[in-house]
Structure formats: structure tokens, C-alpha cells
């Protein structure tokens, strides 16, 4: 079948390519754009390792055709660190709180948490757990992931002016 011209903004950069409509977004990101941060875990939309941000919402890029994402604005884990290369507070918090062991789920987990904290900057523990319920981790038991997201939320909160 004919390839189609695909154009999208990925991590702030305009990208174009030719792709078969049936190509999955995750394959386009990993194989055409060399963005191998988002992972293919279950390949069935359960595990969330492939989570990317699409037009301001977390989505599972293994269950979306590149054709559907044509024209979209996409952010992957590669777009989350600061431009100078220093870690985003969420990434730093995952490091500080041991929010990962093998690390396979981490890009999806952080990309999801990054959007979640923009939607809900001061979440309760329960809200964090519900917010990341589309991301599976087989190592940590989630405790430290939840702690890391909570710590990042505190770190990112607007600082109150010291003393009256």
C-alpha cells in the first residue's frame, strides 16, 4: 500500500517522514526517529511502557497508527529533561527515591507522571496511584514510584515567599 506523508511535532521539533498508515506510532518514534526511550512492553495497551504525550494527553503509542497521529504534537521521555541536559524534577525524584529497578517501565512511568502532575499539581497518594494505573511496573511494587511522584510534586510546587 502507498506510504503516506506524515508530519508531526516531536519534542518541539518538526519532523516529517513517509510511512505506511499501518505503522504504529511507537515504531515510527523508535525506528524512524531513533527515539528509543518509549518502550514496547506488552504491545497490547496494558503496560504503559510505550506512553507518550500526544496533544497534551498521555496515550499508549503501541495502540495508535502513525496515520492517526499525523499533525499531532508529541512529547516523549527524550523531551522531558531540561534543554541544558539537567534532569527534570520528576527524573531527579525517581533517582533519589529509587523509583525504578530494571528501568524498563520508567520512560512511560515518567512521561505519564509528567502529564499527570500538570493536570493535578498537588495530588493525594490515592490520586497518584489512580493516575498511574495505566503503567505497570514488575519490580518496585510501586511504593517508591509513588514516593518519587509525590516528592516531585512538592519540588515543583510554586514556592511560598519565605516569612511575612
Amino acid at each position: 500500500m502507498a506510504k503516506m506523508h506524515v508530519k508531526m511535532t516531536v519534542n518541539g521539533r518538526e519532523v516529517e517522514g513517509l510511512a505506511e498508515p499501518r505503522m504504529l506510532l511507537i515504531h515510527f518514534l523508535r525506528e524512524e526517529l531513533d527515539l528509543t526511550g518509549p518502550h514496547i512492553g506488552c504491545d497490547t495497551s496494558h503496560c504503559g511502557a510505550c506512553t507518550v504525550d500526544l496533544n497534551g494527553k498521555s496515550v499508549k503509542s503501541c495502540t495508535m497508527f502513525v496515520a492517526q497521529a499525523n499533525g499531532a504534537e508529541v512529547v516523549t521521555i527524550e523531551g522531558i529533561a531540561r534543554p541544558d541536559g539537567s534532569l527534570h524534577p520528576l527524573q531527579e525524584a525517581f533517582r533519589q527515591h529509587h523509583g525504578l529497578q530494571c528501568g524498563f517501565c520508567t520512560p512511560g512511568m515518567i512521561t505519564r507522571a509528567w502529564r499527570f502532575l500538570q493536570d493535578n499539581p498537588a495530588p493525594s497518594e490515592e490520586e497518584i496511584r489512580f493516575g498511574i494505573s495505566g503503567n505497570l511496573c514488575r519490580c518496585t511494587g510501586y511504593q517508591n514510584i509513588v514516593k518519587a511522584i509525590d516528592a516531585a510534586a512538592v519540588e515543583m510546587a510554586p514556592k511560598k515567599e519565605a516569612a511575612e
Partner: protein, 286 residues
């Protein structure tokens, strides 16, 4: 997993989508959020030659009030349903049910229309729509309406014809102060129900003046439990009436034995969900 090849179409009007579907015939499928269709395509259980993506059709999006109905555009996402204050205020069972579908990422793309049109007995909204006595608008060359209670024929078999698209769900606005509950037993977030029950009822002067029960994933279609609903109506929702309703509901359940349990277990879970949903709905009557 790589699906079979297809040609991709992205119309911007319902009429265009319907025309495409008419021209391309049986080899075309419409895609909404794609979270039922794409996994099927990856497994090559579905291999449409043409995919008609509905995402750019603005007239299919959003929720609005029209007289005594809540009109939900088919492409309204589940996340948008959760965020809608109008839904929370006027038809809270929809919000309660949608919060139990899949997970946040899936709800960001999954749509109301896809959930009800697909005909998967595991989907949560069909039984809720049956309890609410919603009507589906099906658009082909002409438009017609089919009640949710008449729409589902067998697993993945519905009243929708090949050249039609489900474009709207019209829910009669439940009366103020009605009681409601959608209770779902599932093994984990993202799983289909072991069994789930939707209850909508009204109480007036201590008696149940209206009751409707829908059941999810306990047969090859969602079930509107007419006898169970009748057992509640005109009762004081006492133990005897509730037990009669549960018994009537269990009598029409025919769940498959699967990883969620034996048929007998899933039937009992269905009964338990219904018993609790009735109590919860009654407690919410204002």
C-alpha cells in the same frame, strides 16, 4: 505485532464518512479511539482494507442538553466524560462507570461511541445505557434511532448495519434526586468485569417508583434485566424485593467460564454486584 495494510481516510463531516463507508463497502471500518479495533488488527482478527478515522469530525464531539435528553457525541472521549461537570451533575452514573473503564491513557482516546457500538459484552457503558434507556442514533443514508435495550444481538453483533455509523447517544435525563450505582468487580485496573451491575431508581414516599437494572459481561451481550427491574418497582426495596431482583437477574446470566472464574462464580458475583448496587443507589436517593 504488525497489522495488515490498509488505506487511511480522515473525513471531516459525518456525511463524508457515511459516503466513504457506502462506497468502500464491507472492506471498510470506522475507527474512533481504536482501542478495541487496533488490538484486533494487530492480531489479524480484523483486516479492513480501508480505515475511516472519525477524529476530525467536530459534529461528533461533546456533550449537550437537548430538551429532556443528554446528547453525547460518539467521539466524546471517556476522559472528557469524566471531566464534564454537566455529566457529573445530571447523570452521575455515567461518570461512575467511565471511571471504571480501562486506565487513564486508554480513557484519553477511548470514546463513548466506540464503547457502545463495538458490541463487546465486556464493555461497561452498554449496560449503563440500557439501565438509562438510552437511544443510539445510527447514521447511514438516513438516520434512525435504536434503543440500547434493542441494540445488542450477540457478541460483536449489533443492530448497526455495515453502511451506518453510530453518531450519538441520547440519554433521557434522569429525574433529580434519583439513585444510581455502577458496581464492577474486576481483578485489576484495565480488566473487563468479572461481573458488573448498573442500577438507576427513584423512590417516592418510601416506595420505589422506577427501577432499571443493566448487567455487564455476564452473557454474550449486555443485559437489560427487565424482571429484576420489575421486582424492585413498587416495593419498599426491602430484603425480599432485593432478593427477588437478584434471583431474577441471576436467572438470565450466562457468563462464560474464563480466567475470571467459573460460570457459577461469575453469576454469583453478578448477583452480589447487583445487591450492593441497589443498596448504594437507594442510599443516594435525595
Amino acid at each position: 505485532m504488525i497489522p495488515a495494510s490498509f488505506d487511511y481516510h480522515r473525513p471531516t463531516k459525518i456525511s463524508e464518512a457515511v459516503a466513504l463507508l457506502g462506497d468502500l463497502g464491507a472492506e471498510a471500518r470506522v475507527v474512533a479511539g481504536g482501542h478495541s479495533l487496533i488490538p484486533m488488527m494487530k492480531l489479524r482478527l480484523a483486516a479492513p482494507e480501508h480505515l475511516i478515522d472519525l477524529q476530525d469530525i467536530a459534529e461528533l464531539k461533546g456533550v449537550r442538553e437537548e430538551g429532556n435528553s443528554i446528547v453525547i457525541g460518539a467521539m466524546t472521549t471517556e476522559a472528557e466524560m469524566i471531566a464534564s461537570r454537566f455529566i457529573a451533575r445530571n447523570c452521575p452514573i455515567l461518570r461512575e462507570a467511565v471511571l471504571q473503564i480501562a486506565d487513564p491513557q486508554v480513557r484519553n482516546v477511548g470514546t463513548v461511541g466506540g464503547n457502545v457500538a463495538n458490541g463487546d459484552p465486556g464493555n461497561d457503558l452498554p449496560a449503563v445505557m440500557q439501565a438509562l434507556d438510552a437511544v443510539y442514533v445510527l447514521s447511514g443514508k438516513a438516520s434512525r434511532e435504536v434503543r440500547a435495550r434493542d441494540f445488542y444481538k450477540a457478541a460483536y453483533v449489533t443492530a448497526l448495519k455495515e453502511n451506518e455509523i453510530l453518531t450519538q447517544v441520547r440519554v433521557p435525563t434522569p429525574p433529580k434526586g434519583h439513585g444510581y450505582a455502577y458496581l464492577k468487580q474486576k481483578r485489576k485496573i484495565g480488566d473487563y468485569a468479572t461481573a458488573a451491575a448498573a442500577v438507576v431508581l427513584t423512590v417516592s414516599g418510601g416506595r420505589c417508583s422506577y427501577a432499571a437494572v443493566g448487567l455487564t459481561n455476564v452473557a454474550d451481550t449486555p443485559l437489560y434485566a427487565a424482571e429484576a427491574s420489575a421486582a424492585l418497582k413498587d416495593s419498599s426495596l426491602d430484603d425480599a424485593a432485593v432478593s427477588a431482583a437478584v434471583k431474577a437477574a441471576e436467572a438470565i446470566m450466562q457468563p462464560a467460564a474464563d480466567g475470571r472464574g467459573s460460570a457459577e462464580f461469575r453469576t454469583k458475583v453478578g448477583g452480589a454486584m447487583l445487591r450492593r448496587a441497589i443498596a448504594m443507589a437507594r442510599g443516594r436517593v435525595a
